[in-house]
Subunit: 483 residues, 2 copies
């Protein structure tokens, strides 16, 4: 079902590079036409899967000539439909999964060069084998690839200390929309040769070119960690506690906030879970502090002293530090099971939002109250990366409602309501998941005219034929709102 | 001598905002038509000096309509002619110096919002009054302004630990080329709403719009510091020493390398200086480690243990830790006097270059040898920020040569030779000073076609009328090479 241009591109790739980089079998393609949550369904007559930067460059150059759009894919773990091809079948999928070499890893320099198709977990394991660590992790680490993680400026649970992908990328190699190769892999700590093209490509969701490799910063491996669970009265108290710890040390990597009723859901819905503390508290915090090899600081001593003082001062209600790795893992399981537990209580309209850190405690509480008041019977929950000013904000269906019908009727209205509150608070409607196709209309509705005009101008200038992941992140014409 | 369009702009500004934002007195304008080193001479009939973002936006919008180019100025401390207007008098200077308010400073959040015209030293002092520190400093701190520092992605002597301006800016407010205001001041740790417009404006040298304010990250004030002076045999040894310290702590803020003969020049040319060590060594290193309030680590103990081990192992030849603040200041004076001492020995063609850190030790030595062999009689010296992979590379005139004549004849050839070596090493011909007008031709000669095409495309798309600091950073047409 390839159109003439697509057929010409496929034939060209076969002719130049043989059968290996071409997938046209319908069954082989099918899994890659749907996002992992099953929300977006696309069509494409082929997957092209080059195994070198040169092959990518050749393919992109030819696709540009022929006017065939390319949709890049790594692990296909986008939360916003960013890797699903358009439904009209006009595009071809460009899979980077075969570019899966770790080209180099220097423990001395704390740098690794990984190709786009390297799976995050593989990088973790390779770094660990050299006594180092790549300090970004997230639930999809077994599937998500470096190319996708860079292209979406991925976050996760260690951003508090190490930043998002934007801060961990020391260099980028990419094929630009005209097929030219941008070689920005050299890890230069200082480089003032004009607009930072690497930074422009990070988080661009493949709309300005295709990342083929990245130079990534490593940190020392973790020698020991301390994981604490705290019960307290309000997110404001949680932030105060975080500030207290940060004033003494930068060893805290995770600081996750969990509402008391969400924890109750986890305890009732997820097998083999138990409450870390005896009492019940309105809010809970999971804290992880780590120490590297040779690091004189003891993360456990740090948490013990801060928490003891906070208990004595009456700031927090109760706290416990995991006595073993098994207990630490059990604490993390409670945090990681939140989404699953929430699902068991009914469908929720989900949002990945950020506001300035200092404003997040009150925002979490006030926004939940306002959402529940505006949509009677719903239950609104905010949880997650308090230290990053980023929470996942879920509005759950009323008990007893017809879930599918409720979602179809209410989801868009609820999201607009939540996003309006976020914008009023000076925040972002996409903290870490990106825009993809899911948030495109909301970005158009809520983005400042200056920002939107700039996005369009950059996209049009660098990808004038709209070859690179069209229909994602930036809407080129206002007309596209109606499609 | 204003042309009709300039006159219309000046009249418009007077009409809207009164006399205060308009300077047309020739004597008042004169100092701002020349860069501080006296290398670039421009012309302009007026300085416009708005005192609010709204005034800047109104002026830029009108300038766009009238086609009057604007050259932004802060402290006028550019090293590359980046703030000097074109010699043909076609532009008007837009001074941001009256926008000099620190809009807010939160010690708790470690953030300050400073307007473009705030002088770096003022920010330092204001932060210190709140027990905080803005961890970027450089020689021109008494004149350089926040707008210029952000626009040039400034570096300095604390980059090793805290990064360049790019890493210290949490938010940007700017007036875009069409007069629209980009409000990106909110300090969001996570924000994935597409291309990072803030990052695009940082280091753009005012060619994509004018920064009016920035949100800046603060760190705890320094409670104590330790400054060491080390004698050793080779830059490779110096880098090894740095790695050793970094493996134990991130407390090192400065790690500056100084050749033995440069130190000798300082000792002979600069009054009130004395050698920190008794012996003579081929290379010297100045190390500063700091500890914040409440930080359990002792920077002095750190340096003592590392240096004692290195001495015992025979890695380094000698070392001393400053016994007092006065001695620490004296050590820094030696480092800070390098350029002045070099000048006393004759004019030098100067380069601000970077290569990957691991490659810098050999590059420093080899490049100096090759330059001296290629240009007989010259003396080549590399010194500075070894830990950042950034050195200042000077090629000094042969003794006894006619200095002015030598410089006029040789400077360009020497720079091309040095820059060729830098590019061959995968480095940058501008590490921290930017491109401005000084390095424009070399960037055109040596930049990859992909990079240059992208710079031009972005500039043309965002500033189609070429209103913003024309002729700096990016040459819009190849023809401009010949102007």
């Amino acid at each position: 079902m390839a159109n003439a241009s697509q057929k010409a591109l496929i034939d060209f790739v076969r002719d130049r590079f043989g059968e290996r980089p071409v997938v046209t079998n319908v069954d082989d393609i099918a899994p890659w036409l749907v996002d992992w949550r099953g929300r977006y369904h696309g069509a494409a007559p082929a997957i092209l899967q080059p195994d070198s930067t040169e092959q990518v460059a050749t393919i992109v150059g030819k696709a540009g000539e022929l006017g065939v759009p390319l949709v890049p894919q790594g692990g296909n773990t986008s939360m916003v439909g960013g890797a699903t091809p358009p439904a009209d079948g006009s595009a071809v999928i460009l899979s980077l999964r075969r570019m899966n070499r770790i080209r180099s890893l220097s423990a001395e320099d704390n740098l690794a060069i990984a190709e786009a198709g390297v799976i995050l977990q593989t990088l973790h394991e390779t770094a660990e084998a050299s006594g180092r660590r790549f300090p970004l992790t997230l639930g999809a680490r077994g599937s998500a690839t470096i190319g996708g993680l860079v292209s979406t400026n991925a976050g996760g649970t260690q951003v508090l200390r190490h930043g998002t992908m934007r801060g961990l990328v020391a260099g980028v190699e990419a094929v630009l929309p005209d097929g030219a190769v941008h070689d920005g892999l050299a890890a230069l700590k200082k480089d003032n040769r004009g607009y930072d093209l690497n930074q422009l490509l990070i988080g661009a969701e493949g709309t300005l070119g295709f990342i083929t490799a990245a130079t990534l910063r490593l940190v020392p491996a973790i020698a020991r960690r301390a994981v604490a669970w705290v019960g307290l009265d309000h997110p404001r108290t949680a932030l105060k506690l975080l500030r207290e710890i940060e004033a003494r040390s930068d060893a805290v990597e995770s600081f996750e906030i969990i509402p008391g009723d969400s924890l109750a859901l986890v305890l009732s819905a997820i097998p083999d879970t138990r409450a870390p503390l005896a009492g019940e508290y309105p809010w809970h915090v999971l804290i992880e502090a780590v120490g590297g090899e040779g690091d004189p600081n003891d993360p456990r001593a740090l948490l013990e002293s801060v928490l003891a003082e906070a208990l004595e001062a009456g700031t927090i209600a109760d706290a416990v530090i995991a006595a073993s790795e098994a207990q630490a893992t059990a604490f993390w399981k409670l945090r990681d099971s939140l989404s699953e537990a929430e699902r068991s209580a009914g469908p929720a309209v989900q949002h990945d939002i950020s506001v300035p850190v200092a404003d997040m405690p009150d925002f979490m509480v006030d926004a939940a109250k306002r959402a529940e008041a505006r949509f009677p019977g719903t239950h609104a929950t905010a949880f997650g990366h308090l230290g990053d000013g980023n929470v996942h904000f879920h509005v759950r269906a009323p008990q007893g409602s017809q879930w599918d019908q409720w979602y179809a009727q209410e989801a868009e209205t609820i999201s607009r309501f939540v996003n309006d509150m976020v914008v009023a608070a000076g925040g972002s409607i996409s903290a870490e998941h990106g825009i993809g196709q899911m948030k495109l209309r909301e970005l158009e509705r809520l983005g400042s005219p200056a920002r939107l005009a700039t996005l369009r101008a950059v996209k049009s200038a660098l990808d004038p034929r709209n070859i690179c992941n069209p229909g994602k992140l930036v809407a080129l014409a206002p007309a596209s709102r109606d499609t």
